[in-house]
């Protein structure tokens, strides 16, 4: 039978008998996802896009709103404050977060406990956490009371409503976003590498610097970029504990919306969004960071 060449028509008769049901089956996944996709387009994506369009559509198609940003002192000052704060906060999270990540990965029996201590604040609302810092940093708050009791100051100093308060509170809130990706990366380091290094005569510090640190870089990069992007967009915390003249970009946007300056607000929003997306785009290009993002998003 294998010698006989089947005529084309006969071959067609026995091939691909399931065309109709096969196509229908392929459409099912799309049908399942469509309700949510349409829903989000209507109630989220299109509203945001429509708002952003006001930056180029007001009163007619124009790029003037972006052009004026160049001379806009308020915007530049605000943008600078926002970037500055975000960088400081990210660095603070990195310095504090890396040791905790190592502790989390190294600890055996304590690991679940440490995880709870990290995750419970993580899931507590930003409002409550910012409020906690209002309590701690206020004129009669713990920090002042402690400093007074220790005799380091004579009168309560003003910590609340200063940039420092914003930074402390933001570090507190963003720490878990730094810790979790780094912990993930550290967890994936093969322990036999560390044993091999010390077997070859490396001190713990050298092992850290030359083996652990480089191998954890993808997690560090992911955590840093994630923290930075989130810090850029922070609104509640700076509004609650920050100084009245230290306005971040998100606060400026909110102000402009209250005054119904939609075009300006939209332009500022576009700048903020573009900055965040640009950083994320860079992040995804870095090797290993993409995966670190995905695992930490869980």
């Amino acid at each position: 039978m294998s010698e006989v060449v089947q005529p084309a028509s006969l071959a067609l008769a026995v091939t691909r008998p399931k065309t109709a049901p096969l196509n229908w089956r392929k459409a099912v996944p799309l049908l399942l996802a469509a309700p949510l996709l349409i829903y989000m387009l209507v109630f989220y994506a299109l509203p945001v896009v429509a708002m952003l369009l006001r930056s180029v559509n007001d009163p007619t198609w124009t790029l003037s709103h972006y052009a004026t940003l160049i001379d806009d002192v308020v915007f530049q000052k605000t943008f600078w404050i926002t970037i500055n704060t975000s960088v400081t906060v990210t660095l603070g999270c990195l310095i504090l977060g890396y040791p905790v990540a190592m502790g989390l990965v190294r600890a055996r029996s304590m690991a679940p406990f440490i995880l709870v201590v990290i995750l419970l604040p993580f899931w507590t609302s930003v409002l409550v956490r910012s409020y906690a810092w209002m309590v701690l940093l206020g004129r009669h708050g713990l920090v002042n009371e402690a400093l007074l009791a220790l005799g380091m100051i004579e009168r309560p100093i003003r910590i609340l409503n200063t940039p420092l308060a914003t930074q402390i509170a933001m570090i507190h809130i963003l720490l878990p976003y730094m810790i979790l990706p780094i912990a993930n990366a550290l967890r994936q380091i093969d322990p036999s590498l560390i044993r091999a290094a010390s077997g070859l005569g490396s001190t713990p510090f050298m092992t850290f610097r030359q083996v652990i640190l480089p191998l954890s870089m993808s997690g560090v990069a992911a955590g840093t970029l994630l923290t930075f992007v989130l810090a850029l967009g922070f609104y509640i915390t700076p509004a609650m504990v920050g100084g009245p003249r230290d306005i971040t970009l998100s606060m400026l946007i909110a102000q402009q919306v209250e005054q119904l300056n939609w075009a300006y607000a939209a332009t500022l929003s576009a700048v903020l969004l573009a900055t965040a997306l640009a950083i994320l785009a860079v992040a995804r290009k870095l090797p290993g960071v993409g995966n670190a993002f995905r695992t930490s998003m869980r």
Binding site: M1, S2, Q6, A11, V14, T15, R16, P17, K18, P21, L22
Partner: protein
């Protein structure tokens, strides 16, 4: 034995006919044919194994029989009816997967009852059939446990019970013993064989382990590169391989290049480094053609001392010993023939037989019937 399943009743197994099956994944390149013109006649009630290395198309063929893959060409007929257009849940075929695929959220009893539930069989009847099936695989009373509480071997037996409880006429198995250790595998191979005898249905088994195939099967279809290289009983394939691939894949083989000198009855006379060798051959080669002769290492003997044989029934060759390895049960020698061809010889070890030394010259002999031209 046990169980209420059909016991070796003739005709209780399905016959399967594969006609020119093809499966291509990438339309663009013809080279990506996973299955390339497979035709096979599987008889009612037989235990047929599809054997081959990974990528040979054996699993893809099995998946097409089950209905999880659609052939791009060709037909599959079960009991004479083409099933290619039928979805897998209508084909009434039992299937056992490599990692058992037991439903983790159901008990053993619920797992085995699952196919009965789909068929609308009432509860009391279900319980009875499940109990019978569990008896059949030697796991009576395990019904209330969950798969995660069972060992690998037990899970596999539950998977088999689940696949036969609804009395299918055909059972497909995709390397079901692959995840088990050697000892367990050998035990379960015998159980499979016994089960086949008890149930009397057709088994189609896929594996890459040739020992497994040789132990369990009525017939073996050796597959390579999407095609069937040879079909036959284990003895057929072992003693009379059709081609070089089968000779090399099943058991160990020596390959000796030779030139055809003439034909005698059904034997070919060839010249192999100056010596006349006779071999069986299915086809009729032409004189002067360059061919390959193959023999099995354990069928060769050192031809000196008490051994005797005639030229008509045995071949002889002069060799030099290059390696000698004592491996407990056997001694394994690497020999070199005049033209540099390596030949392996295996003989049972014995305290009385002298072991050859490296560098020694010797004569080996073997039966003409054990020499095949491929």
């Amino acid at each position: 034995m046990t169980g209420g399943a059909t016991k070796g009743v003739p005709g209780s197994g399905a016959s399967v006919t594969l006609s020119n099956l093809e499966k291509t994944y990438d339309r663009a390149s013809a080279a990506a044919k996973a299955v390339d013109g497979v035709s096979l006649d599987i008889r009612s009630g037989e235990f047929l194994t599809m054997l081959g290395p990974s990528g040979s198309g054996k699993t893809t063929t099995l998946m097409m029989i089950a209905g999880f893959e659609t052939p791009t060409a060709g037909d599959i007929a079960i009991d004479g009816r083409s099933v290619v257009a039928m979805p897998p849940y209508r084909r009434n075929i039992g299937m056992v997967f490599q990692n058992y695929a037991l439903f983790p959220h159901l008990t053993v009893e619920e797992n085995v009852a699952f196919p009965l539930k789909q068929r609308g069989i009432p509860k009391a009847e279900r319980a009875k059939l499940v109990a019978e099936a569990l008896e059949l695989v030697h796991l009576p009373g395990y019904g209330a446990r969950y798969p995660r509480q069972l060992s690998g071997g037990q899970q596999q037996r539950v998977a088999v019970a689940r696949a036969v409880v609804f009395k299918p006429r055909l059972l497909l198995m995709d390397e079901p013993l692959g995840a088990l250790d050697k000892q367990l595998r050998e035990n379960l191979q015998l159980e499979m064989r016994r089960l086949h005898a008890d149930l009397g249905i057709t088994f189609i088994y896929v594996t890459h382990d040739q020992e497994e195939a040789l132990t369990m099967s009525d017939r073996i279809a050796v597959m390579n590169d999407g095609k069937v290289a040879q079909v036959g009983s284990p003895e057929d394939l072992y003693d009379r391989p059709d081609n070089r691939f089968v000779a090399g894949f099943i058991g160990e083989s020596n390959f000796m290049p030779a030139i055809v000198r003439g034909l005698e009855d059904n034997m070919v006379v060839a010249e192999c480094q100056g010596t006349v060798i006779r071999a069986l051959c299915p086809n009729r080669p032409t004189s002067g053609e360059k061919v390959t002769l193959t023999t099995r290492p354990e069928r060769l003997r050192f031809a000196d001392g008490a051994w005797a044989g005639t030229e008509a029934t045995h071949n002889r060759l002069s060799v030099t010993v290059t390696e000698a390895v004592f491996a407990g049960e056997r001694c394994r020698y690497m020999l070199q023939a005049g033209d540099g061809t390596s030949i392996v010889l295996k003989e049972p070890s014995s305290a009385t037989v002298r072991r050859r030394a490296v560098g020694e010259r010797a004569e080996i002999a073997w039966s003409v019937a054990d020499t095949i031209l491929v």
